[in-house]
């Protein structure tokens, strides 16, 4: 055992004192991250992904707005269903959709609340309180024409409040369902027959979208000009600062914690564009409120989501160094010389495992420390479960790498071949781990195949511990660790035999 310790110390000193190895440790990761960022940061990659999303409509009454068939949720569902970007699953309740997300059937789900369609219909309409403050008159023109014409417009309802005190209505507008108040200024009708401007003022609720105010104003002006040919119509505006705007129809998008922020942004962006496009097909400028929610707990930030990949990459470089050290020891005859001592193969391997474990733990916890400085905010079951979960995962991964190095050393034979050739092994193991891009969206079959990669098992374990906040006795976590342990046993069995042969 003490000889293993000495071998471990020698390995660690070789790591630390070799400047080339240190350069390799720092330089290659930077190059690799840049490469990954360049390849996977491009939008063309994201567009080829198909997301599985859930569709939950809580509407309990039949659709009845004949004027706006595009407000029908069934139609919205059908359009989503026909899109290449989505596979849409219909669920009748939030609970059902949540379960499907937990079962990895969908990555998130849209929830349309009860009254959504009715809210759309109301949002499409403009209710105006009409106050006639004009005391003048004209021989031919009549203010009633304007009032009637405005009221006859589709999606406009005009309520005459001329018999009430305007200021009282204005200060109590929140008690009404008027979107705004139209005040007809004095001499409006009189000026329609001369060059003077006929003026009116539109008072709108605070927070009304600019676009909507402009549409309403131009509609009112257009109607007035139509009624009074040759007139000079002017319309002013006033923001009723103490009035609350109506809540726009709300759509909630729920995601599991394990969905990356990039995916969340892509999905939310497409959903917003599509739904807004559908309901505003006949221009009505309805603003929708999109809320991104977490299906359970808070959502992790992009840095936290990427952390399993970063840890994986850090540890993965150790495979390269171990291979170079083993092949170099063989090349320089160290193994031959050691074979004249009383050192056993078991002690050499144990020493390598120990050195790799220390390096992996050092890299992992140092890396996590740095990431904390930059905003890492993991979701762990509790601190103990978090530390134990990370430690067990990194322990198993480190042992997998050591056993893999024992297998690969006889394949590459020389340090030069090992240093370069190992990337043929490392790159696919990293790329298909799911730590750098979402492999689950490529295809179901592919996801099932890559699940059996040791790196994928490691990323999934890290996600369970650091993102999903699962305790260490969770079945999925135990299964991943169990599979990883089987790999270690098989790799060590084969690797030890190959290494013994190689050493001779």
């Amino acid at each position: 055992m003490s000889k293993s310790f000495d071998i471990m110390v020698v390995n660690l000193k070789s790591f630390v004192r070799d400047k080339k190895v240190l350069l390799f440790l720092v330089g290659i990761p930077i190059l690799y991250y840049s490469m990954m960022g360049f390849v996977f940061g491009s939008s063309s990659f994201g567009s080829s992904i198909t997301y599985n999303i859930g569709f939950v409509s809580l509407e309990d009454s039949a659709f009845s707005d004949e004027n706006h068939p595009n407000y029908n949720l069934s139609l919205i569902y059908e359009i989503f269903d026909e899109m290449d970007s989505f596979n849409v699953y219909n669920y009748s309740s939030v609970e059902e959709a949540y379960q499907a997300a937990k079962d990895d059937v969908i990555v998130g789900y849209l929830v349309f609340p009860e009254g959504f369609e009715e809210n759309l219909t109301r949002s499409a309409q403009t209710h105006i309180g009409w106050y006639n403050g004009d005391t003048s008159s004209h021989l031919y023109n009549n203010i009633t024409w304007f009032y009637d014409a405005l009221g006859n417009l589709r999606d406009y309802e005009v309520f005459n409040i001329s018999n009430q005190d305007f200021n009282t209505v204005l200060s109590n507008i929140d008690d009404t369902d008027y979107d705004g108040l139209l005040y007809i200024n004095d001499y409006f009708i009189n000026h329609t027959a001369n060059a003077s401007a006929s003026t009116m003022t539109y008072h709108f609720r605070n927070g009304t979208a600019r676009g909507k105010v402009d549409v309403i104003k131009s509609t009112i002006k257009g109607v007035a000009e139509g009624m009074y040919a040759g007139s000079n119509i002017e319309i002013g505006e006033v923001n009723i600062t103490n009035a609350q705007n109506f809540s726009p129809p709300n759509v909630s998008i729920y995601f599991l914690q394990s969905v990356s922020s990039t995916d969340r942004q892509i999905i939310t962006g497409i959903v917003q564009q599509v739904i807004t496009g559908i309901i505003n097909y006949q221009p009505s400028n309805i603003d929708l409120n999109f809320e991104t929610e977490s299906a359970q707990g808070r959502l992790v930030n992009a840095l936290t989501f990427g952390t399993p990949g970063y840890i994986l990459y850090g540890s993965m470089t150790i495979l390269s160094f171990t291979l170079v050290i083993i092949t170099n020891m063989q090349k320089e005859g160290i193994f031959k010389r050691l074979s004249s001592t009383e050192l056993t193969n078991k002690e050499i391997i144990l020493g390598s495992v120990g050195a790799n474990l220390i390096l992996s733990f050092f890299q992992t916890y140092l890396g996590l420390g740095f990431l904390f400085l930059f905003g890492l905010d993991p979701i762990t079951y509790d601190l103990l479960n978090g530390i134990l979960g990370v430690s067990i995962t990194i322990l198993l991964f480190s042992m997998t790498l050591t056993s893999l190095a024992l297998m690969l050393a006889p394949v590459f034979k020389t340090p030069d071949a090992a240093g370069g050739g190992v990337w043929i092994v490392i790159l696919p193991l990293l790329m298909f781990s799911g730590g750098f891009f979402p492999v689950e969206y490529i295809s179901e079959e592919f996801t099932q195949i890559v699940y059996f990669l040791p790196t994928r098992l490691t990323v999934l374990s890290f996600q369970d511990v650091l993102i999903k906040g699962l305790p260490i006795f969770t079945p999925s976590l135990l299964i991943n660790w169990g599979l990883q342990s089987i790999y270690i046993a098989i790799f060590f069995l084969i690797g030890t035999r190959m290494f013994n042969k190689f050493k001779k």
């Binding site: 004192r17 070799d18 005859g333 160290i334 010389r337």
Partner: protein
Amino acid sequence: MTTESKFIKRIEKNDFAIRVEDLKKYFEDVKAVDGISFEIKKGECFSFLGPNGAGKTTTINILACYMKPTSGVATLFDYDVVKEPKKVKQHIGICPQENIFFEELTVFENVMFFGKMYNVDKKELLERANDLILKVGLEEKRKTRADKLSGGMKRRLNLIIGLVHDPDVLFLDEPTAGLDPQTRRLIWDYIRELKTRKKTIFLTTHYMDEADELSDRIGIIDYGKIIAMDTPDGLKATIGKGDMLEIKLEGKKEEIIQKTEEIKNLDFVLSSYYIEEDLITRIMAMDGIGKIGKIIKFFTSVDLNVVDVNVKANSLENVFIELTGRSLRN
């Protein structure tokens, strides 16, 4: 009875540290070692002298349990190197031909590391490491990384690593190859000191002077076979008191070969032969230096021009050349 005391008894009982009988090692078509037999007494310094590829290192590799022989028997204190490698390894130290140690470790760290691998007691190891480093003149470099040492210093480190566990038998494979004269002398002195401590030394070298200076007995090996084995003086005596002359002649090749044969008829010429690859005629003659004039006259009388004459006094190299027909450095 402890393992150590059993071993001491075994040593006392045996006069020979190493016994080799009809040892063979074949690599496909190459006969690296081809049926050699020899014995080395306890405390003896035995050298294997031979050119590169003669089979010296292969023999050491078999005796040090690095490789198994194709056939034959080799024992170290009656422990069979094939059947009892663990016991053999406990009593041998090796200084391989190449410098083998951890480049990133310091001199002291390397010696300590290998000592630990040999299970040397910690306190004893510390004393021994300091002593060895001092003796080979590496004291000032004890904290220097091995990769920063000069070639000579590396050889010295390579040597003491093989000695850190105070082995009974020491295999030194070309210990001074490529070194400057000063470092060679330093290593020779240390080997002499080991001899005074009754260590059994198996030395391989292709330096004649090294074998001559250090060895009690020398085995000359070529093409995997031992072609002569004796004390340095005994070997020199096998070729008598003659001197070796190497003569470069100018003329037709057939003529040169014929006259090289004919010169054997002169009464002071012991042997002569033409070496085609070097284009020289080699003559072993009694009082060769004094007879140079007669020899030149013989060749010029038959219309062959003597271009160059080189005289070599009686030495191990002459022995080797006489036995193998070629120079050691070939």
